[in-house]
């Protein structure tokens, strides 16, 4: 039986396209930040929200065994949900320091928010225009980044911290 080259090319092309589509369907197209785990944070200078003369940089974070960098705002409802976990971490676990970065918020509103719910932060930085958030690969708040003393990102939490993520953090820092 003679099979023409034309038919082979058409058949191969169809199979090839189907394989590509099949591979494409299997792939998860939701954006996530898993690729950032293991990367290092660098080059930032963060001003304290209530004291324009006080700054923190990556060099200061090297002194902490673990640092949780948490982006929050008074206008962010899910930030209220995760706040109890932050307070729990701050009150019970000395090996972790928590840096809060107040995102596109008013100073007075942020202070009222912390007065009402409690302050879990060892340092509160100001990110009035959101530019600092880009340095940390943030695309919505709340988001939290757990780093070690080598400034390596160990865990990134998109959305509010829940019980499962809280326990994951404890497993890492214990």
């Amino acid at each position: 039986m003679k099979i023409s080259i034309t038919k082979i090319i058409i058949f191969s092309s169809v199979i090839f396209v189907l394989i590509i589509f099949w591979q494409g369907l299997k792939k998860d197209k939701n954006y996530d930040t898993k690729s950032l785990i293991g990367s290092k944070i660098s080059n930032f200078n963060l001003m304290e929200i209530n004291n324009v003369d006080q700054y923190i940089s990556e060099e200061d974070l090297k002194k902490n065994r673990y640092t949780l960098i948490n982006f929050f705002a008074s206008w962010c409802a899910p930030c209220r949900v995760e706040h109890e976990y932050l307070l729990n971490l701050s009150n019970k676990y000395q090996q972790i320091k928590i840096i809060g970065i107040n995102f596109k918020d008013k100073k007075n509103n942020a202070n009222s928010f912390l007065k009402e719910l409690g302050n879990p932060y060892d340092f509160i930085g100001k990110d009035a225009d959101g530019k600092i958030s880009i340095l940390f690969g943030i695309y919505g708040i709340p988001e939290s980044i757990l780093i070690n003393d080598e400034l390596t990102v160990i865990k990134k939490i998109v959305g509010p911290i829940n019980q499962i993520q809280f326990e994951d953090i404890l497993k890492i820092i214990k």
Partner: protein
């Protein structure tokens, strides 16, 4: 208060002239190649989201600092991964995406060649 409003109007009216035409074109090209991560199928250029607005500010800063397009893309890829750019850089994960058009072009050419040869043979027979 009046003084504040006056300065706001003045700064607002000059804000459009902060970048030259070349810089504006460069900014627009960069925005168009950046994906808005919180939007449905929109580029940073198309989106008015909070995220897009912040990315625009950062890109404007970097253009003013004299950084090239590739440097800006590299910076954003280091923060958000390859997904942030519409036109990814060639790597082992996406080489198929780059060579596929050439493969299809080559196969199409072969197909046309064989079909025309077959038609010629049929005519001569």
């Amino acid at each position: 208060m009046k003084v504040k409003i006056f300065f706001f109007i003045i700064s607002f009216s000059f804000s459009g002239h902060l970048f030259s035409d070349d810089s504006q074109t460069k900014l627009l090209e960069i925005y168009k190649n950046l994906r808005c991560l919180v939007c449905q199928g929109q580029s940073i250029a198309d989106s008015n989201s909070d995220f897009a607005a912040t990315i625009k500010l950062v890109v404007q800063d970097q253009v003013q600092e004299g950084k090239t397009k590739d440097e800006i893309y590299s910076f954003l890829i280091s923060k958000y991964g390859e997904w942030i750019v519409y036109q990814p850089t060639l790597s082992k994960n996406n080489f198929l995406l780059w060579i596929l058009p050439y493969v299809v072009f080559f196969l199409g050419g072969l197909l046309i060649f064989f079909i025309s040869r077959k038609n010629k043979q049929n005519k001569t027979n």
